[in-house]
């Protein structure tokens, strides 16, 4: 499977992180996550200025079929929320690594992402989950 970008880090809760050069990181959910959820209808995200902790619950994604908790892959302060994705949640289904990003976080500790899964490790996890 080559759909999971190699330059991102991943969690077993099916989120991804894209490290920026400026000490911030973008966060979203993976292709596998959006596929399992089906049509996403509502997204509940932390507000700008709120603090989030790595592996803590930060919101919810609701699809036609189900609701899933969103966990934060990083610790820090939310500096931007993707309003377009909130208003057009289908973007998260269509482009989960691109237009479907969810929040941007100023990282408390950029080294934290080293603990997360690489693309290869994440894909092995997904392959195990599918069988």
């Amino acid at each position: 499977m080559t759909e999971n970008p190699r330059d991102l880090r991943y969690t077993k809760e099916h989120e991804w992180v894209r490290l920026g050069a400026d000490g911030t990181a973008e966060v979203g959910i993976t292709h596998f996550a959006q596929d399992q959820l089906g049509d996403i209808v509502y997204i509940d995200l932390p507000g700008v200025g709120s603090s989030i902790n790595q592996h803590g619950k930060m919101g919810e994604v609701e699809s036609v079929k189900s609701v899933s908790d969103l966990y934060s892959p990083v610790t820090g302060e939310v500096v931007e929320v993707n309003q377009e994705a909130v208003e057009h949640p289908e973007q998260v289904n269509e482009a989960p690594y691109d237009k479907g990003w969810l929040i941007r976080v100023r990282l408390a500790d950029p080294g934290e992402t080293e603990q997360l899964l690489t693309a290869e490790q994440y894909e092995a996890l997904v392959a195990a989950e599918e069988h």
Binding site: G38, D39, V41, Y42, E62, V64, K65, V67, E90, N93
Partner: protein, 377 residues
Amino acid sequence: MAESMPSLLRTPLNAEHHASGGRMVPFGGWEMPLQYTSILAEARAVRAGVGIFDVSHMARLHVRGEDATAFLDRVLTAKVSALRSGRARYTFLLNEDGGIIDDGVVARLDDGSGAEEHLLLVSNAGTRPTVMAWLERWSGEFPRQALHDATTETAMVAVQGPQAAALLDGMADGTPSEMRPFACAAVSLDLGSGAPASAVVSRTGYTGENGFEVVVSAGDAVALWRRLVDGGATACGLGSRDTLRLEAALMLSETDVGPSTTPLEAGQDRFVNLEKEGFVGREALLRMREQGMQRRMVGFQVLAQGIPRTGYTLWKDGARVGEVTSGGYSPTLDMAIGLGYVAIEHATPGTELTVDLRGRAAPARIVKLPFYRRPKS
């Protein structure tokens, strides 16, 4: 591709669904497609054009013989004796407490001359064993009829949407667009190659759009499905089917209605002929009508983000007043909607409620049903 799940029944179209990427799930004892692409895209395709649904899992029960009408009049809420040849009607099968064992559509397939009656009852997949057992229990009173479950010998495809009639007309010599709603006819279908297929076509459906339900032999199912797809129909699964029927406020058996709910509480009075004597459950309904009901089904819109789901509590002024039976996101209205039973004193359109969405109280308002009515053409 995932293999078919063991011990679930499969319709004659099962391989087609797998081949076209259908996401298969168990439903009512069958392996059925939940969706092919996206539930919302499939629902939108039905409202805008034409979608097809494999509904072969639904029960197709035939009753033939001199006593066929009298037998079904005993167990159904519809006045089957008044059902003319080539007509169908939505109806309920009740237990002795007036609770709903199942809902269904009964159609008269005989020519109405009275001698050899032939009625077809189409009811739900999950309840098929219960319905058959119930029918067999009462059939002893009516010796001159025979009950036959044709479900596994046949297939049924729903063709729904504003373009449904045009699509079927091309296969059936223009007959479908001339059919009135709830008409039912034997039709010969041109499936593109080979001999024409015998079908029973009814102008019925579960989406709130104009549409038809087509019954063919199991052997003709694949050719029918492919002919419809070639003609421009979008393949749609159970996910979109549930979204569409909810928008149209159509009941789901074992979810909105069931053995502990009566058709009166469910707001389905017009499908119960209370004047018809002798049907099972009538006494209980007459008592309920006399004593008044405690609760009534309502439809509501959620005025904040979040989707109401089965079992969520409905509150008013700090008191629990009801429960959600079905809920979902309506793509046509772009809001979350739901059905549920509410204490009768609050069961009025305009009433403000809150719905408990997994610990979060969301404002909701009771509305008149249906949520969606198709535009007059």
